[in-house]
């Protein structure tokens, strides 16, 4: 608060500056898998410097701080050790924790500072706790849906958007009142509570298929609320970290909604999965061709180029490791095997890459949609495992399809398409897939893990 910075303050500020630089390098090094682990070290070094610098402040109660740090570590370690399939819900949970920290600090600052608080500061503080509050409950809801504690189906009711809008307006109205009359302390808890309720209601109508976008969006909110906290505390490091996190969340949300051909407003207010259920009916009794594991193995071993298209169904069936054996067996026979990764394969941005990397599939074999789509016409076999909507050619051609316009993997252009699927039941979104009725498509009915296992046995490359 004093005009002149003491020498200790200057040391702390310089440590924060170094930490900011390290944070930026940390993200820069994430551009490639070969340098990414340096990024972690830079981030950790920055974190240690920043926390160390903060502890230099005079007159601190170190015992309580240490207790908090130890307790946080005890909670954090198991959260860092979850299974790779559970990473999306872990991420959502950590958005909630981050936003909880921001909301609590903002609330404490409100009670410490009011009524001597400038209007601008009070506006930023309100923004901080409203964004933080809705991110806390919103992220908890998202985590609950991803963990399947809560129903994945979107819950909608009449006037839903109106109720949500009204709540947001009420929270903002209270914020404006508090900016004008900061001594009305008793209103502050209501503002926070409305934000918390709003977070819950915001996620209720959003279905499981939209989770990648929602997680990214909540990531952005968490970042913005942290940046707002930096304004309130006049802490430049926090502003920078919050801005970095905010832009990361924003970019990822844009990528995700583009990959699903949906706008933000559509994701937030649209309740995907409602309209399509009717579209599936009336498409009965079209001929399909199916094949046995032996036939599939024969076709695969005769191929030169194979592209495997994994979807979340593969992860649900825990088939990654069998897929890795298939990759090994085919590669040994001189077949060129690559994996086509749709941006929304999995439950969060980039999730499928992590699941395949965990199964020891080399990352240079994992190819992004835009890069690999041109190669399908020269591909002998496209093997679809647990993916559905992202391979649906109706998205290119059928203007009445609910997913029309969504970018897809052009598997139908491969010479032979093989689809491993439990049955002909339509997928999560309930949309029929014309791919299954094409003359060059072979359906492989069965559990993904068991079926891939039998193919591997036929190829003679299985372990047991």
């Amino acid at each position: 608060m004093t005009a002149e910075l003491g020498s200790l303050q200057i040391v702390i500020e310089l440590l924060y500056l170094i930490a900011s630089v390290l944070f930026i390098f940390s993200l820069k090094w994430m551009s490639s898998p070969t340098t990414a682990r340096h990024g972690i070290w830079a981030g950790e070094a920055g974190m240690v410097l920043a926390i160390g610098g903060t502890l230099l402040n005079r007159g601190m109660d170190y015992r309580l701080i240490a207790t908090g740090l130890v307790l946080g570590t005890i909670i954090g370690v198991p959260l860092g050790r979850v299974a790779m399939t559970a990473v999306p819900q872990r991420t959502a949970l950590s958005h909630a924790f981050g936003a909880l920290c921001v909301t609590l600090v903002g609330s404490a600052e409100f009670y410490l500072r009011t009524p001597e608080i400038s209007r601008f500061m009070m506006s930023v503080l309100s923004l901080e706790v409203i964004l933080g509050g809705l991110t806390v409950t919103g992220s908890l809801m998202a985590a609950g849906k991803l963990q399947e504690i809560l129903p994945q189906r979107p819950l909608t009711y009449k006037g839903q958007n109106f109720v949500n809008f009204l709540l947001l307006a009420a929270a903002l109205g209270l914020a404006v009142f508090l900016v004008l009359h900061p001594d009305a302390k008793s209103l502050f808890p209501y503002m926070v509570m409305i934000a918390l309720v709003f977070g819950v209601l915001l996620i209720i109508p959003i279905g499981g298929a939209d989770m990648p976008t929602v997680i990214s969006l909540l990531n952005g909110y968490a970042g913005l609320s942290a940046a707002a906290m930096g304004f309130v505390l006049n802490n430049k490091l926090l502003i920078i970290a919050g801005a970095l996190d905010g832009s990361s969340g924003l970019i990822l949300s844009i990528i995700m909604s583009k990959a699903m051909n949906r706008s933000f407003t559509n994701v937030l207010f649209g309740a995907f999965g409602q309209v399509q259920t009717s579209a599936a009916a009336g498409e009965e009794a079209r001929p399909i061709r199916s094949a046995t594991p032996e036939e599939a193995a024969a076709i695969l071993s005769a191929a030169n180029r194979v592209i495997i298209v994994p979807g979340y169904g593969m992860a649900v069936a825990q088939a990654q490791h069998k897929v890795r054996e298939l990759y090994d067996a085919l590669t040994k026979r001189g077949v060129d095997v690559r994996f086509a990764i749709h941006p929304v394969a999995g439950r969060m941005p980039g999730h499928m890459n992590v699941l395949l990397a965990e199964a020891d599939i080399p990352y240079d074999r994992l190819i992004e949609m835009d890069e690999i789509n041109g190669d399908f016409p020269q591909t002998d076999v496209a093997l679809v495992i647990g993916a559905n909507d992202v391979t649906n050619p109706a998205a290119r051609t059928d203007t009445t399809s609910p997913i029309y316009g969504m970018p897809i993997l052009d598997v139908d252009k491969a010479h032979t398409v093989m689809v491993i699927k439990r049955s002909m039941n339509p997928g999560f979104a309930g949309i029929d897939n014309p791919l299954y009725y094409l003359p060059n498509t072979l359906m492989l009915f069965g559990d993904a893990k068991a079926f891939v296992g039998s193919i591997v046995r036929e190829l003679g490359g299985g372990h047991g």
Partner: protein, 109 residues
């Protein structure tokens, strides 16, 4: 320095950092979007410094309690975030033989 000029400075920093973030993160390989998110999550938990000051300064009982919970929440993000990012990145291996990440990282871009 009054508080208004502080806020203007803060706004400059926010906007410029936003641009840096946009340019840097645009270049992150889609391969690594999941680790990216857990990493930014850990970095974002730098909010712990604000909470530490609240706890350390003991200005009121409420601020100490709020600050303490905030320290716990943010620390768990720092520890868990770095831990899981590291675990994920360790799994990404190249198919090229004798891939040594140490000497590859020297080549720029």
């Amino acid at each position: 320095m009054n508080s208004t000029s502080n806020l203007i400075n803060a706004l400059y920093i926010f906007v410029l950092a936003g641009f840096i973030g946009f340019e840097v993160i645009r270049r992150v390989s889609p391969l690594l979007h999941t680790p990216l998110m857990s990493l930014t999550n850990a970095l974002d938990a730098i909010a712990v410094v604000g909470a530490i000051v609240l706890v350390g300064m003991h200005e009121s009982r409420l601020s100490t309690i709020f600050g303490f919970i905030a320290v716990v929440a943010a620390t768990s993000n720092i520890v868990g975030g770095f831990l899981i990012t590291d675990r994920m990145l360790k799994m990404f291996k190249s198919s090229r033989p004798a891939a040594n990440p140490a000497d590859k990282s020297v080549t720029k871009k």
